[in-house]
Every structure is written in structure tokens, then in C-alpha cells.
Amino acid sequence: MAMKLPYYPGCTLKTKAKNFETSTLAVAKELDIELVELPKWNCCGAVSSIVTDDLMHQLAPARNFVRVLEMNKSGIVDNEYRLVALCSMCYNTLKRTNLLLKNDHEKLKTINDFMYLEEDYNNEVEVVHFLEILRDIGFDKVKEKVKVDLSSLKIAPYYGCLLLRPKEIAIDNTEDPRIESDLLDSLGVKPIDNPFKKMCCGAHQTVQDKYAVARNTYTIVSGAIKAGAEAIITSCPLCAFNLDNRQREAKELYPDFEGVPILYFTQVMGLAFGVPEEELGFDLNYNDPRPLLREKNILK
């Protein structure tokens, strides 16, 4: 009996990061997890609004929580109020709003009043990241599903900010996270510790100042390379974009800079589980990982 979970993809997983979603759904299937997409979900806002008087931007996440209630009402999921997010930004934004509404009944009321067309939300929902789900079912379970030997791969986990900070939403130790390397271990991949694994990629600055971001990309990626990594995994489409596409600008700034492929952790899982290549959508990765994977005989 598959575990059925309400699932929030986020805009980018429908466009630029399709491969994140397809690979996730594929590996989830392997693990007998059914991620049921929220009906008519809306953009979470990507970043949580952090000034005290701005409720407007808490609406978007709140609406999605109402969708979860509806899913339970209509029996699409059975008394399951965990909302699974994949994109780190969505996770962070949804979770922070959820916390805010849990701790501030005034604001919760105001929001419910404003959304009078929706049914009332009363903090039923718990926002979780897919990585947490994996940890909960146990990495040993993940290990059981491994079909392909990836031991030759050296991959550096990259956490960025929004899975770990601020503390109240952290899915792991804020300063010393292990969850991604534990995952890699269970997949038989050698995790490489990158001292810059928690450093911010520059996030939305990529829109107004791509070179500022490229400088961070350079620091983070070459940090991983120095530590011996051949690829980096992430769980955030924006990190992925900045670390991957911005390698282009980084190369402009630092001519001798050699990039590495940036993968979603679920793509690596997919490889280990022997998920068909097309479901992993490597064509969407800016730095094509396939040459590396072929060279390692992981892909034909």
C-alpha cells in the first residue's frame, strides 16, 4: 500500500526544473511513495515575507494549505496533512508561513477573513521536505532499492540556505548538516565534504547582478572541486540555476575555472535505482552530466 502524500511542486518544477519533478516522481514510485499533486496550487511566492506588517504575501502559502484540507475532505489522500515540498525555496516559504500562522492567531484570523471564499485554515498542515520523508522511511530502505553501482562517483552535497535557515525550519543541524551525505552514502556514492556547502548562492540576485552570483558560484563550485568532487547535488532549482548556468559567467570572470555538473539529488537517486535516462531529464542540466556518467559506465 503506497504512502499517499499531498505534494507541492512549485512553479519552476513545471518549467525550468521539469527534470527535478520527473526524477522525483520516478524515485518516489520506486520507494512506493505516491506524491499527489495539490489541485489548483498557486505560486508560494518563492521567498517568505519577513516584515511584521505584510500579510498579503502570506496569502499564497495559506491558500495552498487550504488545498491540502480539500484533498483530505474529498478523500484524495487519507487523513494525511503532511505537505511535501521539493524546491527548497517553496519548502522554506510554506514552512515559515505555516509557523507564523501557528504562533499568531491574530494573523491567522485576518487571513482566514480575507480568504472568505476559502474554507478556514486552522494549522492542520505540516510542511515537510522530500528529504525528510526519505529520512523518515529510512536511508536503509533507500539502500535496498539501489540497483546500479555508483561507487565511482564523487559527489559533493550542497544545502544552500533555505533547508537549514532560520533554525526553526531547519531539516537538519543548521551548521553541520548530514542528511544529503547520508543519502549519498545509502546510494553507494562517495560524499565529498565541501566547506562551502551552506554558503548562499546569491539567490534572486541572479536577476539584477549575475556576476555577483557568478563569484559565489565560483567559490562554491571550486570549493567542491578542490575537495575532489566531480558533481554537486542540490534540492533547489534556483541554487541549481546559479551553480549550473552561472558557471558560464564564472568562466568569463575566472578563465581557468573548470565547472562540474550540478544534479538534483533525485537524479542521482534515479541513477542508482536504474530509472530510465529519459525520466531523469539530463538534457535540462546546463552542464551536461552525461559525458561524466558515460565515462564512469553509469550511462551507456
Binding site: T12, T52, M89, P166, T206, D209, R215, P237
Partner: protein
């Protein structure tokens, strides 16, 4: 040439305003500078995060609102998780940004972004930029 900062009533009102918007007790900053040391964008900044705190305390509105730093801050919360007084500088920066943005100012002109880039950017990048940099 160093200029002298007048300590005025307005200065305090500005501090109060930012404290209210951010919900942070800015006066309890001890200026240890750990925020600056933790900041991933520090190299892009004109004022260090710690400076932003002290200048806010002194209500140096003009200098703050014209600074590059408040717009460079990517809200990564690294300073927040390290601050020995558990202050959230990301909130302070956001408050300062809001003071500007709420005067119907946009910090980026999204129409000016080239079509090519627009086709390349992931949605969240643009959404986030709009949230943080437009009114």
C-alpha cells in the same frame, strides 16, 4: 574628511520605525561583526551588515536607504543563525528595503530584462526578485 552625525529626534523615530517593521530589537546589537563574517555577499556590499545595524541605531536614514548593501542582501539568514543576540538582520534589511519600495519605487525594472534571459531564468528567480526588489 570625517563628518559628524547629528543625534536628532528624527533619528530615533527612524530607528523605531525599522524596529517596528522588522520586529527586531536593533538597540541590543553588540557590534561583534559576526554577521559580516557570515555574509556570503559581503564582497558586494558598501556597508557591512554590522554597520547597517549601528547606522540604523543612529537613524542615518539617507545613508542606509542609498546603500547598495540592503539590496544585495539575499536573505540567506546566515547572520541570523549566528548572531549572539539572536537578531535577524535579514528582517532589518527587508525593513529598510520596504521603506524605499513603499514609496512606489522599484529597484529593478523587470521589463528591462532581455528576452533571452527571461527565457532562461527559472520562475522562482523572478518571483523572488519581484518580492524583494519591487513595490
Amino acid at each position: 574628511m570625517s563628518k559628524t552625525v547629528e543625534i536628532t529626534k528624527e533619528a530615533d523615530q527612524f530607528l523605531k520605525k525599522i524596529e517596528e517593521l522588522s520586529g527586531e530589537k536593533i538597540t541590543s546589537c553588540i557590534q561583534c561583526g559576526i554577521c559580516s563574517g557570515s555574509c556570503p555577499m559581503i564582497n558586494e556590499m558598501d556597508l557591512t551588515p554590522a554597520q547597517i545595524m549601528s547606522k540604523t541605531q543612529l537613524g542615518q536614514e539617507e545613508e542606509l536607504l542609498n546603500s547598495k548593501s540592503i539590496w544585495i542582501c539575499a536573505s540567506c539568514f546566515n547572520c541570523k543563525v549566528r548572531c549572539p543576540r539572536d537578531l535577524d538582520l535579514a528582517k532589518v534589511a527587508e525593513a529598510l528595503r520596504q521603506v524605499v519600495l513603499r514609496k512606489a519605487v522599484d529597484k529593478i525594472n523587470i521589463d528591462a530584462i532581455s528576452p533571452e534571459e527571461m527565457m532562461e531564468l527559472p520562475q522562482i528567480a523572478l518571483v523572488a526578485a519581484c518580492r524583494r526588489l519591487t513595490n
